[in-house]
Amino acid sequence: MSTETNGDRSLRWLKRAVAVPYFWLLLFFLAPFLIILKISVADPIVAQPPFTPFFEWGAEGIEGIRATFANFAFLFQDGYYGIIYAASLKMAAIGTLLCLLLGYPMAYYIARQPAQRRHLLLLAVILPFWISFLLRVYAWIGLLNTRGVINEFLIWTGVIDRPLAMLYNDFAVYLGIVYSYLPFMILPLYANLERMDLDLLDAAADLGARRWRAFVDITLPLSVPGIIGGCLLVFIPAVGEFTIPALLGGADTLMIGRVLWDEFFVNRDWPVASAVSVVLLLLLIAPIMWFQRLQSREHEAVR
């Protein structure tokens, strides 16, 4: 059984090598989360860093733990943050829904094309993803401006005679979310729809089902995993989105990512900023776990 021992030998070095990325992730991914938990219960002080230490070091080692939930109490008493969290969740949810409404027909269409065209159409969906996200969001400023391309075009064709206010409001943010996250919606949907057994639809058609009926009764229920996957992939990052509301949103577009940024760089209230991010993380933990479970199930299916 020489293959066994050879295989074991090769696995042995892999087991040893994996310690490096393992340690890396523990240090640079897991530890930071424990630290924001810690800082979110610290008092703000005027110093560098601007928060109190967690442990009091005495002669006997750690003498006490300083923790305050004042930062969280502040978040909940001050209705401002509650409104912002709700607004972020609402904007992300509507953005995700719009993304689904556009992404589903696209994924459905692509999945039903002959192989050659399918790859080309799919490539065209992925391609913009390679171009800077910041610059693609920026591109919309030039399009949506009151003196932007779209307004000038609509005035020129006579559809409107006064420019529409399309930039620096919630509309622009929704558009930005749909535009930026569309590929993330289409890819899982496509992967699901492409695998689907077309014989089922044929059978439905043979039995006299209308296309629409066949779609609602068969295709749609079968594509639910793809819908959930795509929606999570859009919704989770959209809740904490910073760039889109910062560039396209108006002064009254309150999203938590932007507020957190200001709390950090403008107000420099780090414990509150840290409490804000802890609450954001708690809000997102359920969808993130859900996504993780979907992912690992997918891997099980492949293996």
Binding site: W13, L14, V18, P21, L25, L102, L260, S277
Partner: protein, 269 residues
């Protein structure tokens, strides 16, 4: 049973227009002579010329490129090891934690990653005296951490449909594990490693939020520079930068697809 569905086709056409109209309009307007962004003032390359004179911009671009090359290389190496370990070592200690830690960054809002890494660096500076100054090094560490996750996804999907018999044969012929790894496994994984590297490179070059948090005074990456400018509205020289980046991406994607297709004639992606 295929029927025409004009409704469906027009939605799809709208979707593709949405994806490409902004990019095309930026490219067109980057050649516009007029300072007023929407007024066409004739063809001109003046915004490209003005880029060359902008020292701050060139400095930022150079810093971003350096960070992107280093972080993509490390992320690819570390990500490939994680993917191999998750795929091959059946009884890996701490498997659930490891696979959790590499998939979480895919969906983690960047703003949280940025804040938490900044706090880590501050705590480290207090405890071990490093990093005293945040800048290129801390940005590179942050980029390696999040782009590793994407490399793992790419390499894992390649491993899932890779034939392992070649490696087994090499082992049977008495190849030492490391030799087999570099002579057989790495060449077979090469397309995935190349696309993983390119993905990590692009993500690093593109990152605004995480870099802003973990950077210090003096280290301004290209996205940070661009963001500071576009926050005030459209500026024609940013159109020129965008066009250059689009051209670079087009070349990179073309190269990558040629490499991948030569290796995998029946490639699905």
């Amino acid at each position: 049973m295929r029927q025409r569905a004009p409704m469906l086709v027009s939605i799809v056409a709208f979707g593709y227009a949405l994806l490409y109209v902004p990019i095309v309009s930026v490219v067109i307007y980057s050649f516009n002579d007029s300072r007023l962004v929407t007024l066409w003032g004739g063809f001109s390359l003046r915004w490209y010329a003005s880029l060359l004179e902008d020292d701050k911009l060139l400095e930022a671009a150079l810093l971003s490129l350096r960070i992107a090359v280093v972080s993509a290389t490390f992320a690819t190496a570390l990500g490939a090891i994680v993917a191999l370990a998750l795929h091959r070592v059946a009884r890996l200690r701490g498997r659930v934690l490891l696979s959790g830690m590499v998939t979480a960054p895919l969906v983690m809002p960047e703003i949280i990653t940025g804040v938490s890494l900044l706090f880590l660096f501050i705590s480290m500076a207090n405890l071990v005296g490093w990093p005293m100054n945040r800048g290129a090094a801390t940005i590179t560490i942050a980029h390696i951490t999040f782009s590793m996750a994407y490399v793992v996804v790419v390499v894992r999907s390649r491993l899932a449909n890779m034939d392992e018999s070649l490696e087994e044969a090499a082992m049977d012929l008495g190849g030492r594990p490391l030799a087999v790894f570099f002579d057989v496994t790495v060449p077979m994984l090469l397309p995935a490693l190349v696309s993983g590297w390119l993905l990590a490179f692009t993500l690093s070059l593109d990152d605004l939020v995480i870099s802003s948090f973990v950077s210090g005074p003096g280290a301004t990456t290209l996205p940070m520079f661009i963001f500071a400018k576009v926050r005030l509205g459209v500026t024609p020289d940013i159109n020129a930068i965008t066009t250059i980046i689009i051209a670079l991406v087009a070349v990179a994607v073309a190269t990558a697809s040629i490499v991948t297709n030569r290796r995998r004639p029946d490639a699905a992606q």
